[in-house]
Amino acid sequence: MPKPQLPHVPGQGLAKGVSVTMGEMVRTMFPNKGLKKLIPSPAKGAVTVQYPREKEAPTPRARGVIALKEENCTACMLCGRSCPDWCIYIEGHKELAPPRREGGKPRQVNKLDRFDIDYSLCMYCGICVEVCPFDALFWSPEYEYSEPRIADLLHDKARLGEWMETVPDFEPYEAGSEAKVKKVPR
Amino acid sequence: MLLNQFLLLAAVLFSIGVYGVLARRNGVLVLMSIELILNAVNINLVAFGAYHGTVSGQVFALFVIAVAAAEVGVGLAIVLLLYRNRQSIAVDEVSSMKG
């Protein structure tokens, strides 16, 4: 039920309204304390992040762009197959790598020829990162990669590799959690 | 300035107005023509007032304006009534409204 109403003065709601906006304006213009209060500095009072000059820092988990740690990728195709948008293109070939231990047999490894992610199609769901069994894919919170040509949104493995630098470390968990913090291979 | 200038202008307006009243079929346009006539009258009134150096001409013009306003109001209401009943505002069909 509606709250009990106080006796109503006509225009009282209107007056409250204008006082709210006025208050907000004054707070925005004069955010300083003390004597400095009289100096208007809206840049400080406003919540605005002035984009080209200052940037907000997205949280470490933010899904901005996918970075590829090429050395870890075995071209196992899992990510490409579970991607709902079919926007990961992988090509690889088998190769004999030198044995891991002295005197061992040469191993057969998959070598990555092509690893493209089409960011114009990607839905930023994170499934690929999640399914990758070899810790080859990571989310980076980086977000500034608009392009005037759509073809440039197809990032090849070199470009994806570059994003690796921007991948932040995983955060520790909140109290009560039993999950283990993973490490980003550097 | 000659008084005649104004009177002649008024005469021309008046005649045009009369022509409009007779030649127009659309009710709104007829009313506009009537306005022309009234304006012609106003010019005369004011001009004569100035000529005689009295303010009565102006006062009368004001009254005419007021009356014109009333006239247009009622006139347009009639036109609307006409339109409502006949879906047309041709004044020559008014006669057929009788009965």
Partner: protein, 174 residues
Amino acid sequence: MILAAEEALVAQNIFFGLIAAGTIFGALRVVTTKNVVHAALWLVLVLAGVGANFLLVGAEFTGVTQVLVYIGAIVVLFLFGTMLTRSPIGRDEDVDNPAWYLGLIVAVPLLALLSYAVWDQWGDDHIDSLTPAAAQTTADVSDSIFSTYLVAFEAIGFLLTAALIGAIVLARKE
């Protein structure tokens, strides 16, 4: 620089000529245009011209009233009326009487007659508006209304109310 009397007269006459030409042209368009909204706008020109004429003879208050009431109110009324009765953009062929020439037959002789009468009667009498129209200020208009024409003034009040009520009754369908 104050214009010398004659010069002022010339100037005034020139203005009068311009205004009169505009007014007459506008009036002709009012009665000939095929589009009602255009007619209303030409009417604005006529009304403005008439208002200017009022100013020329020193009737300041009436001139402004002309703008306020005629242009600001009556034309708006016309426009509303027009839009209420559906006026298409472009030419509307149905605005003239089939017998429009009748109007010409009446109007032209009327004009001749009137012109002759005016010319005959007032020959070259002058309006002396060069001296500031002593008796033409707003205050005088007011005094005149509230003394000589008091009854008329109150009557106007009743007239307006009656017209309003009448129009409401007409326009409403009970």
